[in-house]
């Protein structure tokens, strides 16, 4: 066939697009206002594609369980974990985290786990959402 792609292109015209339009189907005029509306319950968000089981998202930290052994600090490839000397607990800066979940594997008391939360972008790397302690 001379132009093998041609049939495919015509077929594609009648297919639904693959892209999941997240967070809105059409670009809102004012994104900040749209997000405020969503928070107020006036607008509805187009849901994202579901994350699979075992997804590596934001780290959850169980403060009570932690024994302060510093193993996670030793294996963290990005140096995202800080040790608080006084309390013998850790502080994780998610802005530096590469989400490899190596700290989860090494923890002897399993006080760290990965959630499926992935909407973590922020203008301020030290914002409250991006520090786990």
């Amino acid at each position: 066939m001379k132009f093998a792609m041609l049939g495919q292109v015509f077929k594609q015209m009648f297919k639904k697009p693959w892209t999941n339009k997240f967070p809105a189907k059409y670009q809102p005029n004012n994104t900040t206002k749209y997000l405020a509306d969503v928070a107020a319950g006036k607008a509805k968000i187009n849901p994202p594609v579901e994350t699979p089981e075992g997804f590596r998202g934001k780290i959850l930290y169980d403060r009570e369980k932690c024994i302060g052994c510093k193993l996670c600090i030793k294996v963290c490839p990005c140096g995202a974990i800080e040790f608080k000397e006084k309390e013998k607990k850790i502080k994780i800066y998610l802005a530096r985290c590469c989400f490899c979940s190596q700290c989860n594997d090494v923890c002897p008391v399993n006080c760290l786990s990965m959630s499926d939360e992935f909407l973590l972008s922020d203008a301020d790397p030290y914002s409250k959402d991006l520090i786990v302690e």
Partner: protein, 413 residues
């Protein structure tokens, strides 16, 4: 006045940053009309000091650093590093994790080759084919995300095994994806091999002869497209490739002849996608039961690596060709004494010169893209611009000279 006009060639530089080239690399072309007479490649436009950084981290941390050497080869680089450390410390890998390593390695090859096929289609101005190719690739990426937790940076490897198992409940999705990929392969194979547009631009273009491929030590699909049977998976089987069996993919399987042009490189990569699907299916079928890692306790593993004095080499077949990692431990520190990476594009740079000679200017993007270059994986030497805009390389002798000069300066103070 009868002054004879002499035909001269002129130069055009392309790069270091150019829209047709995805990564910084500098070409200096000697042009006669539309024809390329000579070409010079200047590397060293992007240097990230990854090895230097790695020499200040322990081996577990380096796995994730190695993953970021290349965004597309995010499995083969850590695999080569892990194999180098396993070689140095004589750590055995359980059989089951060898098979899981094959599955992930081949999934990466599928993703990489489909990505390349899309980019190649884009370089010849065939953007509808780019989107069709990447739609197929998306299915493979979804499977990667399902098995490892992320789409690109898999974080699946560890020294002495793998971190996540392929369980019984995963088999259904793997089978579905493999069926979808087979369907996609058929569709893409038909378009790439039969479409007139692709044929017009790729046949007889960017030819690398068998002799040149051998002489210049090309690796991966670039050399196999010229008929050289070279594949680490078959030559020196690692992980479970020896049990499963790998064949060399050369373009004569489909066309019956070897030309070594861009079209042949497309054929080789498509054949390898098919081969990878078969290998994944075989690996899933033959996977034995057993442990995932030989040493689950990471502190114990790290102390063993710390006590090791010696060196190790890990090599494997990346989608672009052979990757070699070399590590040396001094027996006192957690950090390796030396870590050297040779990415596959490094061996595929020189073949660019015979490929580009005699081609037209408009063929530069597709010929340059045909080796699937990955510049930031390759660059190793820092090029520094000093004040009078003269470039010089910072090599060992020069640094030594600078050091002597500084000592003298301090003495005279």
């Amino acid at each position: 006045m009868s002054k004879e006009l002499k035909k001269t060639t002129y130069q055009i530089p392309i790069g270091p940053i150019h829209p047709a080239l995805k990564e910084p690399v500098m070409f200096k072309f000697e042009i006669d009309g539309e024809k390329i007479v000579d070409v010079d490649v200047e590397l060293g436009q992007v240097h990230r000091a990854i090895e230097w950084t790695g020499m200040r981290r322990n081996s577990i941390q380096i796995i994730y650093l190695a993953e970021r050497i290349c965004g597309i080869c995010s499995f083969v680089h850590p695999l080569a590093f892990c194999r180098a450390v396993e070689n140095a410390c004589e750590i055995d890998v359980p059989e089951r994790s060898d098979y899981i390593r094959v599955v992930h390695g081949e999934l990466e090859r599928i993703c990489s080759h489909l990505l390349w096929a899309g980019v190649a289609a884009h370089e010849i101005g065939f953007d509808s084919l780019l989107f069709l190719t990447w739609e197929v690739r998306e299915k493979a990426l979804d499977l990667v995300e399902y098995l490892t937790g992320n789409r690109i940076t898999k974080a699946i490897l560890t020294i002495g095994g793998v971190r996540r198992d392929i369980k019984k409940e995963h088999h259904q999705k793997i089978k579905e994806t493999m069926d979808a990929l087979k369907e996609g392969y058929k569709q893409l194979g038909h378009i790439f091999l039969d479409d007139k547009t692709v044929k017009m631009r790729s046949q007889g273009c960017g030819v690398l002869s068998y002799e040149d491929a051998l002489r210049l030590c090309a690796v991966g699909p670039t050399t196999r497209a010229s008929g050289v049977k070279k594949d680490v998976r078959a030559d020196q089987p690692y992980t479970a490739y020896g049990d499963i069996g790998v064949d060399y993919m050369t373009p004569d399987i489909i066309t019956g002849e070897v030309n070594g042009d861009v079209y042949d490189r497309i054929i080789v990569r498509l054949l390898e996608v098919k081969q990878s699907i078969d290998l994944i299916e075989k690996a899933i079928d033959q996977m034995p039961a057993g442990d995932l890692v030989s040493e689950p306790k990471i502190p114990k593993l790290l102390s063993r690596i710390k006590k090791t004095k010696g060196e190790g080499v890990g090599r494997d077949e990346a989608p672009r060709g052979e990757v070699i990692h070399y590590v040396k431990f001094d027996g006192e520190h957690d950090e390796p004494f030396t870590w050297k990476v040779r990415a596959s594009t490094y061996a595929n740079i020189l073949p660019w010169i015979p490929m580009l000679k005699g081609e037209q200017i408009a063929d530069i993007p597709i010929v340059a893209a045909s080796i699937d270059p990955c510049m930031s994986c390759t660059n190793r030497v820092a090029v520094v611009n000093n004040l009078d805009n003269k470039k010089y390389m910072l090599n060992k002798e020069h640094l030594h000279e600078l050091s002597i000069m500084k000592t003298r300066r301090l003495k005279h103070k």
